[in-house]
């Protein structure tokens, strides 16, 4: 891990935290916990797509930990962690398979994030009450997932074209070889 990479991960982590914080300021559907755009997933998917798994995993764990300490508390951290781990798992699988496009990867991540949080609520609330919201959560997972996936694809394309040398992975190597 060199200085460049540490700096890049720091910038990405702060982007995730800010995006997460902005989302906490309003609710898209009044009274329904769990419906939010999830923009920080754009950063995470970029990391999964263009960087190594360890960096992406570090970003996820630090985001959950710091966001919990700064904004949402231990309870929120538990929900974010269980959702995040499942979402990370499925997105890791689908991105490494390279068979599905990013919007679908993002949608499946959103669906698994929701599933993880409902499972978490089973233990914290003692019943499956949150499952009442399943239909609404699934629809919102599709909408926000497609949106995030499209944005991620655009970001990756734009950054690949610009051939910025600070990017690890393909682009950096291409620049170096020339």
């Amino acid at each position: 891990m060199n200085t460049k990479k540490i700096t890049l991960l720091g910038i990405m982590l702060s982007m995730m935290l800010i995006l997460g914080f902005v989302e906490k300021q309003f609710s898209l559907v009044p009274g329904v916990p769990g419906i939010k755009p999830g923009f920080s997933n754009i950063v995470l998917m970029f990391a999964l797509y263009r960087m190594d798994t360890r960096s992406a995993g570090t970003l996820l764990l630090l985001k959950v930990l710091l966001s919990g300490l700064l904004f949402s508390g231990v309870n929120g951290m538990a929900y974010a962690f269980s959702g995040g781990i499942l979402a990370f798992g499925i997105m890791f699988l689908f991105i490494r398979m390279r068979r599905l496009s990013l919007p679908v990867v993002s949608v499946s991540g959103a669906v698994m994030h929701m599933a993880g949080q409902i499972i978490c609520s089973r233990f914290l609330m003692g019943s499956w009450v949150l499952a009442f919201q399943l239909p609404l959560l699934l629809v919102s997972a599709v909408v926000t997932g497609v949106l995030n996936g499209v944005i991620t694809a655009l970001v990756i394309n734009a950054l690949t074209k610009s051939k910025l040398s600070f990017l690890p992975g393909k682009a950096a190597k291409e620049v170096k070889n020339k």
């Binding site: 009274g31 929900y79 919007p103 949608v107 699934l138 497609v146």
Partner: protein
């Protein structure tokens, strides 16, 4: 950006959402509300109250969490809560008539404080009750 396979997966998720919504609707259609309000804290039954007394119930926990639930004539709602997101307030009132159409069904849920308030339901009798049979006009043969 999208391939045919992608649309199929998205359609499958939406179909699943519709299916679950329909199933839940049919399940709730088969129920009737009772007068009992049950309050769950940390996954355990905390207390039970009856509708119709117009009272404010305060649920205080050792960790500082505090919720005030107004239990009225026909339903209940979260009056106050010291949770950070206040989503339980936004969830509005559960009444005997509106619970089929709410996002949380017959519940008001406060996730940060781990409080769940439930309007207890019972199965709707599937066959007509004896009183209904009596009032029906069945011609003698």
């Amino acid at each position: 950006m999208f391939r045919k396979k992608d649309w199929l997966i998205i359609a499958a998720v939406l179909l699943l959402a519709g299916g679950i919504a329909l199933w839940q609707y049919l399940q709730l259609q088969n129920t009737a509300a009772t007068d009992l309000v049950r309050i769950w804290v940390n996954g355990k039954v905390h207390s039970e109250y009856s509708l119709g007394l117009n009272q404010d119930v305060t649920v205080k926990q050792d960790n500082g969490c505090e919720n005030v639930i107004h239990i009225g004539e026909n339903g209940f709602f979260m009056l106050r809560s010291n949770c950070p997101n206040q989503l339980c307030i936004e969830q509005g009132e559960v009444t005997k008539d509106n619970y089929i159409h709410r996002h949380q069904g017959h519940h008001v849920i406060c996730l940060p404080n781990r409080v769940d308030v439930e309007l207890v339901l019972k199965d709707k009798p599937s066959s007509p009750s004896p009183e209904m049979m009596d009032s029906m006009d069945i011609p003698d043969i």
